[in-house]
Every structure is written in structure tokens, then in C-alpha cells.
Symmetry: C2
DNA sequence: GAAACCCTCG
DNA sequence: CGAGGGTTTC
């Protein structure tokens, strides 16, 4: 079973690239973030034409998440029950092939002294409570998406420059660890304990060409599933497309 | 001698099309309107690379005119002396091969009850005085560009709909006739006394595909030069380009 | 740097 | 509809 995540930064713009990637990679589930389109603008017909099912939660301009699969997507849920009044569409959950898949587009936070950082803090607290409850119900669970957190300095091209900056602060890293402590494992680090892996490169300053990025897109795997994890791959060659997303897809392959 | 006019609606966007058109058509002069770029953003180097000279008068966002030629452009002048404080870059004049070429991007006017229509009235009065003075000095003269006036109902796809509307009002047509009365002839109508010829089609509503346009781009020829006029052509196939201007080029060929 | 919005203009 | 400008977000 292959489970993938990709922040596409506008599905309108990246739709052809997503179609091509689906047909080439044939994942069992693809989790998308930053659709940046309204709920009724999702290209369901185009996906169905190619044999894919999808569930999504969209909003105009910002955020928006989707799950795409050839299999049935059941027990679909959107949003965090702990934040019932949050208008931002950042979470969609479904069960596929017996695996609970939680797709998140976590809050960016802008800067440690920004009001958006306080929102990020509240949002991660709500996510942690939600995932704890889900793990109690579903032993086979994957939490994946754009976390907007680089878990360690090994995940940052220039740790000095990013020291206690947004995505890299010790407080954000403690939130990430809180998630792992629920009974989840960082899939990429489980498969590749050392080495530099980036999933996001700033559009500005030709950072991709210079090999300078952050690892902020993650696939976290529940204890019950971790022994079945075979490999985790960052698909960097999509970043060499004509109009690339600033994020690359990441996929995890399981022997189920 | 081939003299051409083209409202390009952004030279930034249309630069490749202008280059291609110059190389295919090899005009002696090409007059451009609606450059929509600042004075120091004109692509002179690219033109010189291909062996062309140019003079231009640019401004940010709006208006802007240029004259491009393989020959020397002398006695260059910009603006109307009768409107010395007008910041809008709508006029550039030069002598090429002994012919005085006046390139104009005339005021649109928006609607008959708009303040912009009053500006159009003043601007045409100033233009008429300027052209009268130029004709006194230069017997061989061509006044060309985007006039934003369809001279007769024959130049309009739906004269009823456009009756006394902007571009087609009797007052605007009287301004156009005032120019002719200075000793100028409408080149296209001289060469083609009857028949529908359009030079502009609204982007909205697929008007080009429906064949519905206006003839508002003109080449007016001085009495001394009119007997040498061989043909006038509207180059409609540029409107079938990938990202076309809403105007087509018009060119006049002289036996000089 | 790239995307989406709303605005003005033609 | 298509262009440019200014704004916000990441």
C-alpha cells in the first residue's frame, strides 16, 4: 500500500501535474494540501474520468485539503472537533483499505511573535487531542501532510540561520514530539535514520536549484503499522516541472 | 515603402509577436500604441539585435507609443505642443525616408457623458491644430494609429447598437472629418471604397471569432502622397495568435 | 517567487 | 476578457 502527501499550492494550477503523478505513481491514497479553491470548484469529474475517487474540503484562496484514492473512502470527516468554529479548511480524514488516514495542512504561523503563531499553538493542541482519540479507535493510522515544522536541525539546510525561527523553534518541535508520543513514528526518519531530506524549497532565490530546503511534510505511522513500513521517498523531480509547487510529494510504501 | 500601425495592448506581452511580425513583414515603419511600459523598460536591445531602430514615449501601465524602422528616424518629437501639460504619452512623430510620420494613440473617451469624453474632445482639437502645422511643413505626411473613432457606419459591425455610442458618435466623426479636411485621405477607404474592414474586436464575447469588430485604427495620407498609395491591408491573422492583441496591424504600401 | 484577491481600464 | 497594480499569504 502506497500513501502519499503533496502540498500543491493551488490545485487549479497543478491539476495536470497531479493527474500525471497519479497515473505514474498509482498511489493507494494521495493527500493534497493548499487546494486554494472553493468546495464546488474541485475537479472531481476529471479525476473520476481517470478512475479516481476523492473527498475534499475546500475554501476560496487559502488552505483546502483532499484525499484521492482508487479505493473506497469511508467514515469521512473534516475539521478538528476541538475547533468547531475554525473556518479554515485544514483537515480531512477517511478510512482506506482499513487504514485511518488523517490529512493535515498545519498552520504556518508566520513568525514566533505573530498572532498567527498563537493560532498555530492552539491548532496543534486541538490536533493532538484529535489524533489521540483517533488512535484509540484505529490501530492502523497514518497522519500525514504539511506540518510546517522541521522536526530537527538535520531537517534544515542552515540550522544557524533558522535557529528559533518559524518552522524550527523548540516550541514547535515540542508540539511535533507530542504527536509522536501518542504512538506515532516519523516515517522518513524510521526508514532513513540519517541524511538530508527536504520537502519544501522557497520559490525565492532559486533555493531548489541550490539544494536548500526544509523537511516540513511528513508521514507519521502508528505503532501497529510501523513494522510494515518498507520505504519513504521524497519525489524531488516534480520540483523540476514547468510550474512547480514549492513542495515535493512524499510517499510511504507498506507491505499491506 | 510600407508603413504600418499596431495597437499591441502591452509590448511586454506582445514583444515576441511584434518581433515575428517585423521579420515577416519588413515594414519601413511600424507605429505601436499602448506599450503599457515605462520609458526605460522599452526592449531596445532586442530590436537592435535584429537590426531595427526605435524611438518611443512610454509610461507605466497606460498609453505609450513607439516608431520602429530599419531607416533613420529624424526630427523626433513627442506629445502635442498644444497640450504641454498632458502627462499621457499618446503621440510620437518622426521623419523617415522623407515622410513625416505622426503616430497617435487617441483618447478612448469611455462614454459620451464621461469626463474622459471632454478630454477626448480637447485632445482631438489639439491634434488637429498640430497636424495642420505639420502639413504646412511636410508635404509627404502620414497620420496613423489607434483613433478610437469608427468613421462611418460601414466601419461598425452593428451600427444600430453603436448609434451615438462611444467611437461612433456624430461628434467624434466630425473630429475625424476635421482631420481629413486638413488635406488627408483615409488610406483604407481610398484603396477599398466599399466593404467591411475591422481592426479591433472586443476580447469579451469571442467577438473576433464571430467576425464582429470596429475599424478604429487608421492610416491617413497627405494629398501629396495619396497618388503613390498602392494598397492598405488589415492583417487579421495576428488576432489568431496565442495571446493576441485586441487590435490587428494595418499597413499601407506606397510606390516610393 | 508564486498564487489568488480586488481594483481600474479598455 | 485581458492587461497592469496593489495587497496578502506562504
Amino acid at each position: 500500500m502506497k500513501i502519499a502527501t503533496w502540498n500543491v499550492n493551488s490545485l487549479n494550477v497543478r491539476q495536470p501535474q497531479v493527474m500525471e503523478w497519479l497515473m505514474n505513481e498509482q498511489p493507494d491514497v494521495l493527500a493534497l494540501q493548499e487546494l486554494k479553491l472553493e468546495q464546488d470548484k474541485f475537479p472531481l469529474a476529471a479525476l473520476q474520468m481517470m478512475g479516481w475517487n476523492a473527498v475534499w474540503s475546500g475554501q476560496k484562496t487559502y488552505n483546502g485539503v483532499a484525499l484521492i484514492s482508487r479505493h473506497e473512502l469511508t467514515d469521512v470527516q473534516t475539521g478538528l472537533p476541538q475547533m468547531p468554529n475554525d473556518p479554515q479548511r485544514r483537515v480531512i480524514v477517511a478510512t482506506v483499505n482499513g487504514v485511518r488516514v488523517i490529512n493535515v495542512y498545519c498552520v504556518n504561523g508566520e513568525a514566533l511573535d505573530s498572532p498567527k503563531f498563537a493560532y498555530k499553538r492552539e491548532w496543534f493542541a486541538a490536533l493532538t487531542h484529535f489524533v489521540r482519540d483517533e488512535l484509540a479507535r484505529y490501530a492502523d493510522l497514518v497522519l500525514l501532510g504539511d506540518f510546517n515544522i522541521a522536526p530537527t536541525d538535520e531537517d534544515v539546510y542552515d540550522p544557524k540561520k533558522w535557529h528559533e525561527q518559524i518552522h524550527c523553534s523548540s516550541e514547535e518541535r515540542s508540539w511535533f514530539k507530542n504527536l509522536l508520543d501518542l504512538g506515532l513514528t516519523d516515517g522518513l526518519r524510521h526508514a532513513n535514520p540519517i541524511g538530508k531530506f527536504y520537502t519544501w524549497w522557497d520559490y525565492r532565490g532559486a533555493m531548489f536549484e541550490k539544494g536548500l530546503g526544509l523537511r516540513i511534510d511528513h508521514i507519521l505511522v502508528s505503532d501497529n503499522l510501523i513494522d510494515k513500513l518498507q520505504q519513504v521517498v521524497v519525489d524531488t523531480h516534480t520540483r523540476a516541472n514547468e510550474r512547480p509547487s514549492d513542495h515535493a510529494p512524499v510517499h510511504a510504501d507498506f507491505q499491506i
